[in-house]
């Protein structure tokens, strides 16, 4: 323990005067304070975002005397006398920035919007210097800003079109289903008004910091906390496991609730929480967590599946022999017999790495007590699950907890689980006042869930004519120290590991395994992207062995309407994989010809084209999964939609109103939308498993239809009547039928507590059937389908890979908003590309965004999206989910392309330059 007698804030604050967005300001801050911190907390300029505090993400980009810099790397005192411009000021004062905002809006260049301030500020520096920039100039100028949602292409388009001579697309207007309208919640992301998790708390709110384990596995003893607090009088509160009034555990799946909020005496991963300290912001900024009184006693750690399942491995959780978390199993037909009888067989062992979600917004939020109830503000994918997880920890009834989601700067699965919420909740309850928290980049990377590393052993057999005969799959998934969504991964993978192909003989077993790694949880695809890598790569090898074209081989074996899946489920309509694969034929021929022509010249660069398919069941696996939507009509005729599906950038704040408006028969712009608040919006379930458009969309459709019936019934109008809302919201409501217009006399109706004269509430739960012991049944009401082509260029001497082009065919049943479809696809492709080529999270080693590499501008190629619409029997207007599908085929398509370019067979992801170069040498490249 260091000397802690001195108060942690020694120096006198410096007064700094400068111009901020055109106005003179003066700020008094400690000498080394980062400009980003002063701008946000002392000057209220919260449009400046903090994603890493290390220059790696660019979210904090501001202009200092016109030049873009990272505000997180600049001392505030440095800008004395300078002019500082941020997104909000630029858009308020500069017509060029307004044009840029319009172009971003039209292109949907902002998804979650957390990177948008940095993107727009960097773009402004470019546009002021280069009035009509090219795409390459945009990439160079914006290359210092990371985006995890969009895949960058829409941002490039938006900046180019904001230049002189560019033309932002003119979006259509009514917002009907099928129209590519801009995001209904898009504008605040473009002018700096959007409020994310860290943007809610007033500047003088108490700050909480979590003390975390520096060891993968250790016992610990807390020191004398009372004495420590007495010696540090600025400390408002210290929290440990002893302070938890309820159950010191959380998790997401009943039966697997195994993670303590604060570890009791043993930590199982590096980054696990053991205590928390609360104090005033300025004191906390100077607090060195290393001085917290605690002693560690490290224990042997098991970090991968092999060591965790070894006989002498420490057992991490009682009742889990061999550190096996759980197992999923599917058996269909006779895989062993069919494999032995197959004309050709291929097999392989595959390995994938931990993948970090990489949202640019670290977890952040605030808890407060309001009229005796606990309010939780902040980013989340699942407000009602948060509420349900907190209640037993805090020993509070559900109705004492209100979750008010902020805008969420990306989630991709990790923000389904609770993270910061219990810490600030406990602190606010104890102190009776608001407490805030913001995870550091290192903290979010070290402590929140990741994609499961997988070890897969796969065998595939086929007949000489190319008919698939059998697949045998074994997979082990490292779930880290706690279960999180590990059971879901273990269950989902066997159901999906065949890929979207017709197959009579199949056996698949997947295990979740506990280790001392960072907990692995939900991440776009729940294990399916990992299994798809093995299956799609071996399909290419099989096609080669059979002497068949890789695309035609897949088309021949594609699942069709009326053919049972490997779970024995038969869909009579909506199986769109064949259509996706067939849609790729022209690009396949063209790109293969291009690659051949390129390779005809000798050289170190080799090109190749790869293909892969994918499918994904939307919603929970064989479990109830309802969503509820409520709507009301006020006496003035305003129609209000209560939309509780968390929009983490994927677009449900736009899609759900579009569906509702179609069902009601009005323009989407005429609907008032209330989103995300557990007091006001009924449970729309979690934003995961590609379920919101399908499940909540259906609830919105049912609610729209019900409200329509209710309105028409008021005047006994016929079913085909038109509902006419006043041009401005709240200017009355008219129903028109053959006999003419009928104004509804809403003012005569009784008004309920929420101010509604009419109201509807509808729930949709997708029809599924339980799986038997062999995994046979009807796990999902619908699947979505996808197939991707990738063209790559490999530098055979250096082992580097450049992806030159992606063509992505997606069967979405019905594209409710085609621009949102493209956005999801491009963002998913970028994540799949990262998983294929560069992303490898190593607990304790790559907990920052310069050692952990995600794609930047220039790494993501042009992406052509081919939208296929094979209507689903259950989806709203035939629509299917899309979120996860977008990245499933990308990584295997890239691997197959590398294989076709060079002959190298890659078995381990990511294919870093070092790994690829080693593989290239093995197959004879000099």
């Amino acid at each position: 323990m260091k000397d802690n007698a001195t108060p942690p804030f020694g120096a006198d604050p410096c007064a700094t005067e400068f111009r901020l967005n055109g106005a003179s300001v003066a700020v008094s801050a400690p000498p080394g304070e980062r400009l980003s911190q002063s701008l946000r907390e002392r000057l209220g300029t919260r449009d400046v975002k903090i994603g890493c505090n290390a220059g790696d993400c660019g979210a904090c980009t501001v202009l200092v005397d016109g030049a873009p810099v990272c505000a997180c790397l600049m001392p505030t005192a440095r800008v004395a006398g300078a002019s500082v411009e941020t997104q909000s000021g630029l858009v308020a004062h500069d017509p060029l920035a307004q044009r840029l905002a319009d172009s971003f809006h039209a292109h949907q260049a902002a998804q979650c919007g957390i990177c948008t301030p940095g993107m727009m500020v960097a773009a402004m520096a470019l546009l002021r210097a280069v009035p009509s920039p090219t795409a390459a100039q945009v990439e160079d100028a914006l290359g210092g800003v990371l985006c995890r949602c969009t895949g960058y292409r829409k941002i490039i388009d938006a900046v180019v079109d904001a230049g002189v001579g560019g033309m932002p697309p003119q979006p259509p207007s009514t917002g009907d289903v099928g129209q590519a309208i801009p995001r209904l919640d898009g504008r605040p992301k473009l002018d700096g008004r959007e409020r994310f998790g860290d943007d809610i708390a007033p500047a003088d709110t108490l700050v909480l910091r979590v003390i975390r384990s520096p060891h993968h596995h250790a016992r610990f003893r807390l020191g004398d906390l009372q004495a420590w607090q007495a010696a540090n009088p600025w400390v408002a509160l210290v929290l440990t496991a002893a302070d938890i009034p309820g159950r010191n555990l959380f998790g997401v799946i009943p039966g697997f609730i195994d993670q303590p909020v604060f570890a009791n005496d043993t930590v199982r991963f590096k980054g696990e929480a053991v205590a928390a300290v609360v104090g005033p912001a300025d004191a906390m900024a100077q607090f060195d967590a290393g001085q917290f009184p605690i002693t560690w006693d490290p224990l042997p750690a098991v970090l991968d599946v092999a060591t965790a399942t070894a006989p002498d491995a420490p057992r991490l959780h009682p009742g889990h022999e061999g550190n096996i978390l759980c197992q999923g199993f599917v058996k269909h037909g006779d895989a062993d017999g069919a494999m032995a009888a197959a004309d050709v067989q291929v097999e392989g062992q595959f390995e994938t790495s931990y993948v970090e979600h990489g949202y640019i917004e670290p977890e952040a939020g605030m808890a407060d007590l309001v009229d005796g109830r606990l309010h939780i503000y902040g980013c989340t994918q699942a407000p009602v699950m948060d509420q349900e997880a907190l209640a037993p920890i805090l020993a509070l009834p559900l109705d004492r907890i209100r979750v008010l989601p902020s805008a969420t700067g990306g989630g991709f699965g990790s923000k389904i689980d609770i993270s910061f919420q219990p810490f600030v909740a406990l602190a606010a309850l104890r102190l009776g006042r608001a407490v805030r928290i913001t995870y550091s980049r290192q903290e979010t990377m070290a402590s929140t869930t990741k994609r499961h590393p997988a070890q897969i052993s796969l065998k595939v057999g086929a007949q000489a004519d190319g008919t698939l005969a059998a697949i045998a799959f074994e997979g082990q998934f490292n779930t880290g120290a706690y279960a999180s969504w590990g059971p879901t991964v273990a269950n989902r993978v066997p159901i999906h590991a065949s890929g979207p192909y017709a197959l009579r003989n199949y056996i698949a077993r997947a295990q979740g395994v506990y280790t001392n790694g960072t907990p692995a949880g939900a991440f776009r695809g729940f294990g399916v992207p990992q299994s798809a890598v093995a299956q799609e790569v071996l399909f290419d090898e099989l096609a080669d062995k059979l002497g068949q074209d890789a695309l035609e081989f897949r088309i021949k074996n594609a699942l069709t309407n009326g053919t049972p899946t490997i779970c024995g489920q038969v869909f009579q309509q909506g199986v769109g994989i064949k259509a996706c694969l067939q849609a790729l034929r022209p690009a396949w021929a063209r790109l293969n010809a291009e690659a051949q022509a390129f390779n005809a010249q000798a050289g170190v660069l080799r090109r190749g084209v790869g293909v892969a398919g994918g499918w994904y069941g939307c919603g929970n696996t064989s479990l109830p999964n309802p969503s509820t939507i409520k709507a009301g009509v006020r006496a003035d005729g305003t129609v209000v939609l209560h939309q509780g599906a968390a929009d983490i950038g994927q677009g449900s704040n736009t899609v759900i109103p579009q569906i509702f408006a179609r069902a009601l028969g009005v323009d989407v712009a005429q609907i008032a939308v209330i989103d995300g608040d557990t007091d006001r919006t009924p449970d729309a379930g979690k934003t995961s498993a590609s379920r919101q458009t399908f499940v909540t969309g259906n609830a919105a459709r049912l609610a729209g239809e019900a409200l329509r019936r209710l309105l028409l019934a008021q005047v006994n109008a016929a079913d085909d009547s038109r509902i006419v809302l006043g041009t401005a919201q709240g200017t009355g409501l008219v129903v028109e039928d053959a006999t003419g217009p009928h104004r509804l006399r809403l003012a005569d109706l009784p008004v309920d507590a929420e101010g509604y004269v009419l109201r509807v509430q509808e729930t949709y739960d997708p029809p599924t059937l339980p799986l038997d012991e062999n995994g046979q049944g009807a796990p999902y009401a619908q699947y979505g389908y996808a197939a991707h082509l990738a063209m790559v260029e490999v530098d055979t001497k250096l082992g580097t890979t450049r992806v030159l082009q992606i063509v992505a065919a997606h069967d979405v049943g019905c594209a409710i908003n085609p621009l949102l479809v493209e956005g999801q696809v491009q963002g998913g492709v970028a994540q799949g590309l990262g998983m294929a080529l560069m992303e490898e999270y190593l607990p304790g080693r790559t907990e920052n965004l310069h050692d952990y590499l995600m794609p930047t501008f220039g790494d993501v190629p042009p992406i052509e999206t081919l939208i296929i619409e094979e209507p689903d029997a259950h989806g709203p207007y035939g629509a299917k989910g899309l979120g996860e599908h977008a990245l499933i085929p990308t990584a295997p398509a890239i691997l197959n392309a590398i294989g076709r370019a060079t002959g190298a067979r890659l078995r381990k992801l990511p294919v870093t330059p070092a790994r690829l170069r080693a593989a290239l040498k093995e197959v004879g490249h000099a």
Binding site: P8, F9, G10, A11, D12, C14, P30, P31, G32, R34, N53, A54, G55, D56, G58, T61, A67, P68, V69, C70, L73, M74, P75, A77, R78, A80, A122, A125, E139, D140, G143, G144, V145, A285, Q286, D288, A289, S440, Q442, K797, L798, G799, T800, M838, R845, T846, H850, D851, L853, M854, P855, T856, F857, G858, D859, T912, P913, A914, R917, A918
Partner: protein, 281 residues
């Protein structure tokens, strides 16, 4: 305590004597703090008069330590500086280049500092100042190890001197960086090359490699082997030269074996680019 941004070097020495932490662009200084507190006593050197800007002086060029990468990239410099400018263009991102300085790059002494190889090929010397006076050191003697320099307490790096060794016609220079993504990437390995061609043959060459040893290294044996070579002989000479002095580590960016393998290819490519540039002059 406090934030000092003096415009007189004497004031800077005084702050240093009182224990202030030196900050230039801050692009290494802040990330080095991690999640811990930021020092409260700072000496910002970016306003010191002799520390910024690029100028001719007798017999060479002088680059102030606090000169930003953007200023170097945008400066009008002779062909011999093409490698240094190319390196600057690949430092992080525009934001990092606008703030980060060449002096900070050297003082931070990262094995992966992109500025080092090019400056080594340019025979750069550093000018160090303290209350006691000024001293000059060859760059190779200034950076002594990973995160280690010859900087004494109370001393500041004031400028980098580059002699006119490479002013003759027929000179070309290049930089090649290997990273796993396009922007914001730390080098797996990088090389700088500078050469003068005479009648199509190498009359003189310098090559240096970074991120393959604790401190970037010149490859003397290869430089000698390149004497008299024509560009189409480069690859063979690179292939045969001993890479003495390189002792790469394995880390998250790549294995040691891979680095050594890739470096030869980078060397060949950088030499070819330099030769092409030399031919254009």
């Amino acid at each position: 305590m406090g934030y000092h941004r003096p415009d007189r070097v004497e004031d800077a020495f005084q702050a240093l004597a009182q224990g202030a932490s030196v900050i230039a662009g801050g692009t290494d200084w802040y990330p080095a703090r991690g999640d811990g507190p930021v020092p409260q006593h700072l000496l910002d050197i970016t306003r010191l008069p002799q520390f910024s800007g690029i100028a001719r002086h007798d017999g060479g060029w002088r680059i102030g330590a606090a000169t930003s990468w953007s200023a170097i990239v945008n400066a009008d410099l002779p062909p011999a500086f093409a490698g240094l400018q190319a390196a600057g263009r690949e430092v992080g991102s525009v934001q990092i280049q606008n703030a980060g300085t060449i002096g900070g790059n050297l003082c931070n002494a990262s094995p992966a500092a992109d500025g080092m190889p090019a400056l080594l090929t340019l025979d750069a010397h550093v000018q160090l100042v303290s209350a006691k006076g000024t001293r000059r050191l060859p760059l190779a003697q200034f950076v002594t190890g990973a995160r280690q320099t010859a900087l004494q307490p109370g001393e500041l790096l004031q400028a980098i001197d580059i002699p006119d060794t490479w002013a003759a016609p027929g000179t070309g220079a290049a930089f090649a960086k290997l990273g796993a993504r396009k922007y914001l990437v730390i080098s797996i390995a990088m090389v700088a090359a500078i050469l003068r061609l005479n009648a199509g043959r190498v009359a003189d060459a310098r090559v240096a490699v970074g991120a393959c040893s604790a401190v970037a290294q010149r490859l003397g044996a290869l430089e000698a082997a390149l004497q008299g070579a024509t560009p189409d002989e480069f690859a063979a000479r690179v292939a045969q030269a001993p890479l003495t002095g390189l002792s790469p580590i394995a880390d998250v960016r790549g294995s040691a074996e891979y680095r050594l393998d890739a470096v030869r290819e980078l060397l060949s490519r950088a030499l070819m680019t330099a030769a092409e540039a030399a031919n254009e002059r």
